[in-house]
Amino acid sequence: MTAAAPATITVRVLLFASYADLTGRDEVTATLPGSARVTDLLAWVRAVLPEGGKLPDRPLVALNRTHVRLDAVLADGDEVALLPPMAGG
């Protein structure tokens, strides 16, 4: 089922609530190596975004609207959301 990974992938990164306030961004596009995982994306976010280094080391992450572990592999066109601790209700 798996073809060879492309050289690079582009993912859409969503930041919410305190993470959006912290970085001043609620959405950013990241270009990463083809075999990148969520952890690679987090390293990119921490390095590139203003105050990104203040994000937690291991935030909650949703990949295409589903909770995932941080070792999940990304694909071109993915939507990755960084979720602060939830506080509904």
């Binding site: 609530a17 609207r65 602060p84 506080a87 209700g89």
Partner: protein, 152 residues
Amino acid sequence: MTYLTGDPISADQLVSQVSGPSRGGIATFVGLVRDHQDGRGVIRLEYHAYPAMAELECGAVVAEVVSRWPVSIALMHRTGSLSVGDVAIAVAAAGDHRAECFDACRWVVEQVKHRIPIWKKEFYADGSVAWVDPTQLATPLAPDPLGSVHRG
């Protein structure tokens, strides 16, 4: 099904959604914006959401509750800016017997609090603002540093 709304929530409307001649009881919970939190005056709230995922997760909660209890469920969560006294969340559970109504209603409320990607920003009487973090004490920020931004 839509579970998030930017408009005021009517608990009555949820109750009528789950009513029916075979139902013996309806348990309802309405969460309201309080005028205080941890001893501080609260003026208003903002609920921000990841709408696409929040809708999916609400749907998953409702699917799970009706598989666990023989009930009908209605659920609505408000987003945007809310004033003191506004309804933030409303859950109605209708069933044959009161125990299952109460259990199902309460379970949905708990799930929503911990599982749905919604965040709450509190605006205090002293001018400060904080995102509510249930995993620790609320972290006060400087007075409204970003103004009244609405995202997501």
